[in-house]
Symmetry: C4
Subunit: 488 residues, 4 copies
């Protein structure tokens, strides 16, 4: 059985049918046809190379001669396209929330589900944002803030903002240019992009697109086949990547039910009557699991020296969630850790990075005498950030920088490169404002004593409401306008 995929290449996928993480059914649907449009956004760019031995690459055909899968434009899709056409001009987008509001209505449902979904009941996903609301400012006055500067250094590399664009998968779900939108905006604004293992664009494409001197980091999901990881890492180092962020919070990708449910809704209704037991597994995977079967759940502290042996790039663990593991990373000579719960997409009821930051700085000070921010062992947090105000709280508490992910996805899903560009410009405006109002001329002046984080560890749930009492209570009313007189 043959399948035509990107660039008019034809492949023999007969033997692969049973191994396809997304199940065989979807492949059979496109047999003998050009599956490029469906294939591209949800497959890592090197998927074919990795999974199909060379002898199955049958060669090229003239794309014009292949039968395209006819995409029927549904009414829902027509309405979506009308919403796309009616996006507000970027000048009306005032904050990062706005991009999300627009992306929600202009993105294809499936893409929105993949980007926005999180683990289980999505408690941690929302807690990531909420945690910042338990930190309050103690700003200082009467300092000459004519000139304020919110640039910094991240792992020794200059950054115009104390944040980086963190790794997120499947950029083409949101925009045909995928992660390239981020690369270009990062260049323009002097910020660092972390290239994801699971990008829609290929790694080399993203490196090629960088401006001379533009700094890029790499996020790594470690493959069960370590040789693949080794090749990837050493290739990255050769191409000039400046740091390697090893993801440690995802031995298996989380159950993200919005994403999983999306699958069902996209199904042909006729199919759902089939033998549920047999096809249950592939059906319930969602995009996340479909693309992640190679990740090694066996990754262990014992692997760290091996990583240190294959690359000279600074190594950072992404997904540390308690001081004990941060301490171990430090003791092993790593360059830093990202305090992160993977955007709430892995273990629900994981605490927010900003909350973990407080315990990490406290314990590493008590046990190793470290103070933060610290050049030799850098702390990063990600998750839930929407405003410069949030970022500055992390900085005040000792973070070197903050990773921002979804907001930039929503920015390019709504407006492509211009969206990310505008998002970064908004952040600049917010930083200028907030630095002045804090009385801090540089990030060094953003100090722990400038925040009151004493409520940060409170995980409060209100006692369940007394519905009978509440429904009896008659809400107070304001004075009311008099009735408008009837017109004669």
């Amino acid at each position: 059985m043959s399948l035509t995929r990107p660039s008019g290449k034809v492949y023999d996928v007969t033997d692969f049918l049973d191994d396809h993480p997304g199940g065989s059914k979807i492949i059979l649907k496109y047999a003998g046809k050009d599956a490029t449009a469906e294939y591209e956004p949800i497959h890592p760019p090197d998927a074919i190379k990795t999974h199909l031995p060379p002898e199955k690459h049958l060669g090229s055909v003239d794309p014009e001669t292949v039968q395209k899968v006819k995409i029927e434009v549904t009414d829902a899709e027509k309405e979506r396209l009308e919403r796309v056409a009616n996006r507000p001009p970027l000048s009306e987008v005032l904050n990062l929330h706005d991009f999300e509001a627009i992306a929600r209505v202009v993105m294809p449902e499936k893409a929105w589900a993949y980007y926005s979904s999180a683990a289980d009941d999505e408690i941690t996903n929302r807690e990531n944002h909420a945690a910042y609301h338990r930190i309050w400012w103690r700003p200082r006055i009467l300092r000459d803030v004519t000139h304020v500067d919110w640039s910094t250094k991240i792992l020794g590399h200059p950054s115009k903002l104390p944040l980086y664009i963190t790794a997120t998968a499947l950029g083409k779900l949101g925009h045909p240019d995928g992660e390239l939108n981020l690369t270009r905006a990062a260049a323009k604004h002097g910020v660092i992009q972390m290239i994801p293992t699971l990008s829609s664009c290929s790694f080399d494409e993203l490196v090629d697109a960088a401006e001379p001197g533009q700094v890029q980091f790499l996020q790594l999901y470690v493959n069960k086949d370590r040789e693949i990881s080794k090749k990837f890492v050493q290739h990255a180092e050769k191409r000039g990547i400046k740091a390697l962020f090893i993801t440690v919070d995802a031995p298996q990708l989380g159950r993200r039910e919005k994403d999983m449910r999306q699958k069902f809704e996209a199904e042909d209704p006729a199919e759902v009557t089939g033998n549920k037991q047999q096809d249950k597994v592939d059906r319930s995977q969602g995009a996340a699991r479909a693309i992640s079967s190679f990740i090694d759940p066996g990754l262990d502290w014992k692997d760290i020296p091996w990583f240190q042996s294959i690359t000279k790039m600074p190594l950072i663990l992404k997904g540390v969630q308690c001081w004990e593991d941060a301490l171990q990373a430090y003791d092993l000579g790593l360059a830093g850790v990202v305090l992160s719960n993977h955007g709430g997409r892995q273990l629900d009821f994981s605490r927010s990075g900003i909350e973990i930051l407080v315990e990490v700085t406290r314990e590493l000070k008590a046990r190793r005498g470290l103070t933060f921010p610290n050049e030799k062992f850098q702390l990063f947090v990600d998750g839930g950030v929407r405003r410069a105000n949030d970022v500055l709280k992390a900085v005040a508490l000792g973070a070197t920088a903050v990773g921002v992910g979804r907001p930039f996805l929503y920015a390019f899903s709504s407006y492509g490169f211009e969206g990310v560009d505008h998002a970064l410009q908004i952040l600049h405006d917010e930083f200028e404002m907030n630095m002045r109002l804090l009385g801090a001329r540089t990030l060094e002046e953003v100090k722990p004593e400038m925040v009151d984080a004493s409520s940060l560890q409170s995980h409060i749930v209100a006692v369940p409401g007394d519905r009978l009492y509440d429904s009896n209570y008659e809400s107070m009313q304001h004075a009311r306008l008099r009735e408008v007189k009837a017109k004669i």
Copy 2:
């Protein structure tokens, strides 16, 4: 007056009219007719034997000759049946919440009311779930979690999951096979079922249905007539029951107003104008009280040695709610306690089992040097559990296992055996995921230091809202799509 009941048996119920816990009126309604359909789900299977002396058993009739009570199918019932027919396929059921959502719309109203109802304002009922939300994880990374194992031993018996199917009454309200659905699914998944005293299926039916070697426990409501209890317990032991859970939180079954209200709504409207004083008591009972008048409010610590004298089964108290009573159970040589408030169905404002667990482990360590989980004195909790994530928190805090009740009722009420089967499969999936994300390969590695339970004891109620201020506040708005141009 004669009444035909299950299996075409005919009974003389004339003398019993005044003693019927559900009032005489309902019996008179069915006089001379076959009352099986109405009778079965809400009566314990041995009710007739217990309440009617042998001379009132008049013998059998040919069911075909008896006048059936004509059940008129209402419009509401027709709509319900249509909903039943439109249940989503099980493959779309992603979590235990889903079963409840489906059960709510496909179950008969009265059955839903009985299962879902709880005491007074149902504060404790919801607190049981909410309490888990005040416990947050401190997961560990970089441990080889290729192989994770969440099996355990409960009172010495192997269980594939650290949970058991706890006792719940009146299974036939939800499904014609009643508790048999649970017995079968328990067998398939290697978990333990606790047989309830108030099952719709008879005790022997449930034991007979067990696979060879399948472990079952028994929950006991102690009868005012101790001889009846003694016979029941000794019969159970003989039939191979492995442990006896004596319910101690229900000297009287709670006021469950949803259940009670259901009665009124089911009433013939003409009746409500009758003499309210006279028939008030029976009307307001609901299913719970109708079936529970035999329970002895006189049960006392003094009875414990007697139980120890009549059976060799390990004895566990179900419904302990403070450390003092847990300690006393330990000192009396019992095998364990279930920290439980009866699913919120007894005393409102009782604390959740998971909250009590923390004080019990602390005090039993301080006073008797015990650590938990402990083979010799096992702690169980139940109430509010919906995810493996919840169960693991209880394990981390020292519980041997967790009892799960309503979710399985909702599963079989929606899909029969397949529902419970699927529910258990979901839990397996969730356990695998969560164990890996916690960095715990076995339940022994799920440690207290993995959770932050410092907010668990907070019973917070927000200050009542300022309605005038709040209604003046104009909510912020996102950037909006431009108006869609009118079509020409």
Copy 3:
């Protein structure tokens, strides 16, 4: 100018026009007519005697000959009467909340506003109930609770329940029999009624209605003219009143805006264009202020010995709100205090009685060695109670009994005497249930260690919500029923 009032008596009110607390306009409206229907509910029964010198009492007329004020039955009133006719039978009323729900729809709007209104933003009014939600039970098990007894003694007098019917004004607003409904139900159930100074029924009527041996207390608003108060108190003592509760939290009656707003809505729309400055004061008073101008804001601790000199009744201060004042009451030899904020009708942001109870017992133990409940110095609380569960928390924390007000008003406003009777029966049922479930056979066994009140002092307000973030969050959805197939 003459006015015909109750019992066909005619009065000359010309000189009184300017002194009328409700303004002159309302009197002029009824000049020469029979104003009984409007007059009765909102005037204390001895108002005429107090305010009009004997020479203004012109004598009697034949009621038939006087022009009745024609009451036009509005559409809204017709709808209300239809709702009254459709009240559910009492057997369907399961709890005290139900009475309130029914009263809200069957009471005249003005009466509902007067009963339900509270001070300022009604924060304290709702906090009174909410505070009970911060107290959780630690029930005990395996105590023989076959016989449970929730009777007690209040100031030496037996009470079948640990609660009394507290004083509330203007009973006839809700029902033509006014406070007599309470007197009769109190008699039937063996509870004590506290007669209010501002009752709609006269004091003597209420005493006359008592059964032989029925215990009644008296609530006193102290008159600027102490002689009037003295006469009233000594008359009460002579009539057999057993205790005097002096209200100390109301030197001036609170601004209750629902009540005040009601006035405007009842106004003739034509009037609102008048000179606002001039008639502002009387218009904005509401019922509360209209009836309370005699209360003395000058009442002082110095007056206590005088009260002790004029009566031998035990004296209790009603409205104490901190331990300092409770201590002073004790040191002055009073019989007790009611920890109360007047049902939230006086000073907003006053704390609930149950919260104050904890500090009072703590400080009076520390400073005077007292333990509670204490026969010699009794503590009462009122406000917010809706269930026996609430009452028992107060008892556990040291209260002798709890005052219940609005629930009984709503009960008789909905169903007259039968309503109050049924309300008390519900409470009996709840007490029996709760005592058993607590493992307490008598009120003495309801101990402080049975509650966890550690969150009671928390006055938490959640951080204002992030509206942009929240409106972006897409709520999770359950599995959905499949579409119902179209009928052929």
Copy 4:
């Protein structure tokens, strides 16, 4: 290019086009026409003098001969005017919330947006009010409160209330008389008005309107050109201003998105397709930034001695937000500080003034032995106050007086002078009531021990809700009315 502005003056604005903070486009729109109606409310009265050199003042024209910009009355505006006509009579306005409710519907949208808007997500804006809800009263009883007196002295000047009318900009947006409404009401009620730098009425107009002996303060935004500030301050001192409040929390005016969004909505839809980059800055400014470009972000503690050298008026810093800066102000010999976050309009997540007050009094007592209220170093708070109840909490905690801003804006925007007059009268009523209920005869008797502020520092956010669980929970229902029988 010429422009006709107020009073028929004509100006040459050609060279100024590019410097106009609001962009050139808006000026071009009015070229050659009379722009008075649009110009007046949003420009400080001395704007022309400040920005245009004398030679550009071309002289006067006869207003009648100039082309007026034709204001088209939209349907929305017609509806608004109808709402204005239907305002309730002032006698129905019972509290300050009511003014806001009315202003919201009767004010032009743009004006409402400017007054009500706040920084970022407006968290601090609402927290300012919410913080008062975490402070609860411990009132005292049995004190003779026949006479209560809530007058005080502010910086040595008598005030009939412990509050002042704080500085707010652009009064003419709400009412043609602008801040004159405040001056007149302040005179009538014996309270002090703080004149804002950015008033719509000119400074001299407001001083001229004062009654003899009426005390006024001045709020100062410090100009980059210190000479302008010096002239202004010395002129103010000469005109009798009694104190100078230097704003220190606004080196740059905050991003207030409601205000910014208003701009877009007011835009000609045709314009939004233009080059967004180029005109982005001016478009997104909103009223706040348009009027504030002169403010000096370089203001520093070093400037304080200079202020002390140019005026003998007492100097107060407005916008202090931590004890450290309050201490420094004290050490520099200033007369006091206003603990304020600028009504939530500057740095979001700034704490409320009332919360800061607690730390300031604690630390200044610990470090300098000061007690509060203190004549020599006075503490003020502003933000979020709506009731006398709120004000008294600030007084209890050590504030000399409280600044009230928006409520008075809403009062005059709804009813002009009479609105402010009525608002102050309401406050008097509330003060009388609350003082009596607190048992405080004078403000000196309003003591710290009268409040429980122990929850004030809690910045709690509830754990995000479990949407699946919550949507499964079936809310409890009350007893329901029986169906109304069909009419025959």
